[in-house]
């Protein structure tokens, strides 16, 4: 049986397409992008958990330049009652929710403890703002340097454009792409060589929107940086910037959840292999019974 090697211009990789008996392979993710991806995973995990630690030092959010203590936009508190019982209460835009066990009041070392986010979600686990800040700032640097390398490489090689800018025909096929996602049917073959339109648009929003927004709103909270660049003015004041920082965090967590679910749904091994080794199967073929040979 014949199996050939075809080199064509791929959408994501250097264009290498390799045919084996049962599969067509594509070199989808160059080393720089794979490294950047996993370094980003580590950075975002630590930034999220240390960020929740920092948030817990004052678990309330406001709009404007200064805090409006009597009218927070979000506040997570524990409500100690006269009968000795307590519950976790979360206020959002004037509405209150009982979040006992999750927000406001949760178990720490077996004891119900008043804290914003529970200890399993924060770094360090115990209340320690100073160490949380150290984790946050160190990994903020790693995140920024990693992101810059990714962007420079992506722009230099054209990878970024291929990854996040939908082609014209894709925009016209937006509706069918939405249908594919809803029914969890994903393209194979030629169409699998490039990211689909929803994928591209999502990455576009995350890479050029949400992640830079995290950096800018983060820097807006620095009184030192403020004296050089009036960043908070972009967001309506320092407390607004802090609130947006928190909201965008939630959007990024949402993105990661959907991202991981779709990785699971669209072939976990193929996706994992491609982000670890670069090689992605774009087509699987049924073979007639018979002996196989190595190409």
């Amino acid at each position: 049986m014949a199996a050939g090697t075809a080199l064509g211009k791929g959408a994501l990789g250097k264009g290498d397409v390799v045919e084996t008996m049962r599969r067509r392979w594509m070199f989808r993710h160059p080393l720089v992008i794979r490294l950047a991806h996993w370094i980003n995973v580590v950075c975002l995990a630590i930034l999220l958990m240390s960020g929740l630690q920092i948030f817990n030092a004052h678990p309330a959010l406001y709009w404007g330049a200064a805090s409006t203590f009597d009218a927070p936009f979000v506040a997570i508190t524990d409500d100690q009652r006269d009968d000795g019982s307590a519950r976790g209460v979360t206020y959002v835009a004037g509405k209150s929710f009982d979040t006992t066990g999750w927000l406001g009041l949760s178990n720490y070392n077996g004891e119900a403890t008043g804290r914003g986010f529970p200890s399993w979600a924060t770094l360090p686990a115990h209340q320690d703002l100073a160490t949380g800040r150290r984790w946050h700032f160190l990994f903020a640097w790693a995140f920024v340097i990693n992101g810059l390398i990714y962007l420079l490489y992506g722009i230099g090689t054209g990878q970024l454009r291929r990854r996040i800018i939908p082609d014209g025909d894709q925009m016209r096929g937006l509706g069918s792409s939405i249908r594919e996602h809803l029914t969890l049917h994903f393209p194979e073959g030629e169409e699998a060589k490039r990211y689909n339109v929803l994928q591209k648009l999502t990455y576009l929003v995350v890479v050029l929107g949400l992640l830079p927004l995290m950096l800018l709103t983060g820097l807006s909270m620095s009184p030192g940086v403020n004296a050089v660049v009036p960043l908070p003015d972009l967001f309506g004041g320092r407390q607004s910037a802090r609130t947006i920082h928190f909201i965008v965090t939630n959007l990024l967590v949402l993105f990661v959840i959907v991202h991981v679910l779709l990785v699971l749904a669209s072939g976990v091994w193929n996706n994992m292999r491609s982000m670890l080794t670069g090689w992605y199967v774009i087509e699987r073929r049924k073979l007639p019974a018979g002996p196989e040979e190595i190409r």
Binding site: M49, A130, W135, R242, L276
Partner: protein, 302 residues
């Protein structure tokens, strides 16, 4: 007849190597144990060093913190940390409306000085409406009036070896136990054991109503420090008025520091003495401030 592998061998090897790397990532739980080792602490400080370096690069002596219109002044300027010092000496001063209070300036100065409140009010004044950013995350806007620190330092005259300005305050934060004096770094130990460690504004929440004169050990009173770059910054003032009124006790009466490009814990309240030094070693644990000695950044610009 060889049955070919579904994954080409080099790919498989790469996959396994990378999978092993991923296991490292999943070890987030060990972060807490790493953070309390000497290497861990040093590694975590790298971010602080980078922050200080970049801020020093960007912040010129002329970069000013934003000043707000009076209409933006917060209706309530949240007092934090120590809000009512219980120290006997301080209470005696407060009882007489600080008429006996003096600010001392000594250390590496040509002429040590002593100022009464009236003396300070007679010096050139600056008024600035600025945003106070607490390390916890909240902000409040207040209008501060006071004497630029540079004016006070000019009158004392710095010696050539002067590098830092240290502020000694009236409020007791905690007491050292007699047996704790052997411990090189009690703050760090406390953190490693998971004790509550939360800085606030300029003062601790943990030191409620300490009586400095009760026999509980040596009182640790609040202390802070800045370098000469910040000491001579035009917005660095010793404030005696808040929003046009004499500074209330809860906000640091009769005199507090304002270093507007840094966080709240740098804004030392209840200042009694200004000491000019060539090093921060020998003050507290050597970190340059009460909270700095408990893990917070000395340069609190972020």
């Amino acid at each position: 007849m060889t049955r070919r592998l579904s994954i080409p061998t080099p790919h498989r090897r790469g996959f396994l190597t990378a999978a092993a790397g991923l296991l490292g990532v999943s070890a987030l739980g060990s972060c807490d144990r790493f953070a309390v080792t000497p290497t861990g602490r040093q590694t975590l400080r790298l971010g602080e060093d980078a922050n200080l370096y970049v801020q020093r690069l960007l912040l010129t002596p002329a970069s000013l913190a934003k000043e707000f219109p009076d209409s933006d002044i917060s209706p309530w300027f949240k007092p934090n940390g120590t809000i009512d010092p219980q120290d006997r000496d301080y209470k005696a001063l407060a009882a007489k409306n600080f008429s006996d209070w003096r600010l001392r300036i000594d250390g590496l100065v040509e002429t040590p000085q002593s100022f009464s409140l009236a003396d300070l009010r007679a010096l050139p004044a600056r008024t600035q409406t600025t945003r106070h950013d607490c390390v916890e995350g909240w902000s409040a806007i207040g209008k501060w009036t006071g004497v630029p620190l540079a004016e006070v330092l000019k009158r004392a005259g710095l010696k050539p070896s002067a590098r830092y300005v240290v502020f000694h305050c009236a409020d007791t934060m905690e007491f050292t136990e007699a047996d704790e004096s052997e411990n090189a770094n009690p703050g760090m130990t406390a953190r490693a054991e998971g004790e509550e460690n939360q800085a606030s504004d300029s003062k601790a929440a943990g030191a409620e109503a300490p009586d400095a004169d009760a026999p509980k050990g040596t009182p640790i009173r609040y202390y802070e420090s800045i370098d000469l770059t910040d000491a001579y910054h035009p917005q660095t003032i010793l404030a005696y008025d808040l929003n046009g009124q004499a500074l209330p006790v809860s906000n640091g009466a009769p005199l507090r520091l304002r270093v507007e490009r840094q966080l709240g814990y740098k804004q030392a309240k209840y200042v009694l003495r200004i000491e000019v030094r060539d090093t921060l070693a020998g003050i507290g644990e050597g970190g340059g401030g009460y909270w700095e000695d408990r893990g917070y950044e000395w340069y609190a610009g972020i």
